[in-house]
Symmetry: C2
C-alpha cells in the first residue's frame, strides 16, 4: 500500500524520467558516474541509472515497475476484506435471526473475484520465495486488523476498501500504459482468464487488465456505497445489494 502510494505520483515523474533516461544511457557507474541531472523522484532520490560493461542499460527491476508482479501481490490482500465482511454479516444474520438483503453474497463474490485476479496474474508473474514470504506475513497481520476493524466499524472498513480499490484502478491504469509503451510484453491472455471472463480466444494481457480494472471499479462502487449506507445510520440490509454484475 505504501508502494502504491509512492508509485501513484512517482509514475508521473518516471514518465518524464523515461525520456531523460534514453538521453543519458551510457553513463557508467564504474567510472564514478556522471552528473545525473535526471528528474528528482517523489522522495527526492534520483532513480539510479545503471549500465552494464558493454554499455547496455541495466533495467531497474524495482517493485514499482513490475506491475504484473505487484498486481499479483496486492491481490493476495485484496481478496481478504470481502471474505471477512461476508463472514461477519453471515454470523450476524444467524444470531439475530435476520435476513441479509443479499449483502453476504455480494461481499463473498468480491472476495472470489479478487482471488481470481490472483490466480490469473500468477500465470503472468511467477512469485519469488521472498515475495511468498512477504505475502504470508502480510496476511497474518491484515486479516486480523481488518477483522477487528469490521467489528468496530463496518463504515470505516468499507470506506478504506473503497479507497484501496481506487488505488488499484490507478495501478492498473499505469499497467496499461506500460503495456502500451511496450515496456511490459503484451503476452497472450492466460487460459484461466479467458475462461473466467469469457474473453475472445485471441485476447491479450492488455484485455485482461482492462476487465480486471473494471472489476476493481465495481468493487470501489460497492464498498463506497456500503460505507454510505452506514453513514446514513442504516444496516446494509436496508438497501438492495448490488448483485448480478459478475
Amino acid at each position: 500500500i505504501g508502494g502504491a502510494r509512492n508509485a501513484s505520483t512517482a509514475a508521473v515523474a518516471e514518465a518524464n524520467a523515461e525520456v531523460k533516461k534514453k538521453e543519458v544511457v551510457g553513463d557508467n557507474l564504474e567510472s564514478g558516474g556522471g552528473k545525473n541531472e535526471g528528474l528528482v523522484s517523489y522522495w527526492g532520490v534520483e532513480p539510479v541509472k545503471l549500465t552494464k560493461e558493454d554499455g547496455t542499460e541495466w533495467k531497474w527491476r524495482s517493485f514499482r515497475r513490475r506491475y504484473g508482479c505487484r498486481a499479483m501481490m496486492l491481490e493476495t490482500v485484496a481478496a481478504v476484506p470481502g471474505m471477512v465482511g461476508g463472514m461477519l454479516l453471515h454470523l450476524k444474520s444467524l444470531r439475530r435471526f435476520e435476513h441479509s438483503g443479499g449483502w453476504i453474497k455480494t461481499l463473498l463474490e468480491e472476495a472470489e473475484n479478487e482471488r481470481m485476479h490472483l490466480m490469473t496474474f500468477m500465470e503472468v508473474a511467477k512469485p519469488k520465495w521472498y515475495e511468498r514470504a512477504l505475502v504470508f506475513a502480510v496476511q497474518g497481520v491484515f486479516f486480523n486488523a481488518y477483522f477487528l476493524a469490521y467489528l468496530a466499524s463496518p463504515k470505516f472498513a468499507h470506506r478504506v476498501v473503497g479507497y484501496l480499490e481506487e488505488e488499484a484502478i490507478h495501478s492498473y491504469t499505469e499497467f496499461l500504459k506500460e503495456l502500451d509503451k511496450g515496456v511490459i510484453e503484451n503476452v497472450p491472455a492466460p487460459a484461466i482468464a479467458i475462461d473466467y471472463w469469457r474473453l475472445p480466444a485471441d485476447s491479450t494481457l492488455r484485455d485482461v487488465v482492462m476487465v480486471v480494472r473494471a472489476d476493481e471499479a465495481h468493487h470501489r462502487d460497492v464498498n463506497h456505497f456500503a460505507s454510505d449506507i452506514h453513514y446514513q445510520g442504516n444496516e446494509l440490509k436496508a438497501a438492495p445489494a448490488p448483485l448480478g454484475y459478475h
Copy 2:
C-alpha cells in the same frame, strides 16, 4: 448439541410414553398425583404428566418436543462450520498461490444452505428472547472453537461436522414422525421455502422437512468425504469437490 444427543434416544422412549400418556390423562397433580407408572426416560426421570384444573392435558413444552424450534436453534450453529472452513481455505489459497479445487465454493454453499434452513424455520417457530440470548452466547463460543479446530486439524473438524449432520438427519426424521402423528401441525410451507427449493405451491411443512433432511444428508457426505481425504494424507484440492448439487 447436548439436547440432540439426549433426544435421539429419548425420542424412542417418548414414542412409547406417548401411548401411555393418553391412558393416564386425568391424573390431577393438585390431588397429590397418582402413581405414574409411565416409561422411564433416558435420564431415568419420568416425564411429568400435568393436567389443568378442567382435566385437559397440559402439553409438555420442553425443548425436546418442539422440533420446529429446535431445528431453528441448531441451524444457527450448523451454518458456522461451512463459513469458517471456506474462509480458511480461501486464505490458504491466497497465501500459497494455489488453486482451490472448488472446495471453497462447496463449503460456502453449505453455510448458505444451512442459513436458508434457519430463515425457513424462523417462519415456523418464532424464537423467544431467551432462545435468542442462548444463540448469541453459543455463537461466540462455537465460532472460536471451530476456527481453532479447523486450524489445528481440518480432518477432525470435518469428521465432527459429518457426525453432527448425522444427528441432524435423525432429528429431522423424528420431526417427520411428529408431523405424521399430528402432534405438530403440518402447516403450509413458508413462501421462502417454496422459492428456495422450488417446491410446488401446495407444499407443506412436511415437504420442507424432507428437502432439508436431504440437504443434511448431502452435507454429511461432503464432510465425511473431506475428512477421508485428509485421512489419506491429502489436501482437499487433491480430490474433485462435490459441486452442483444445490
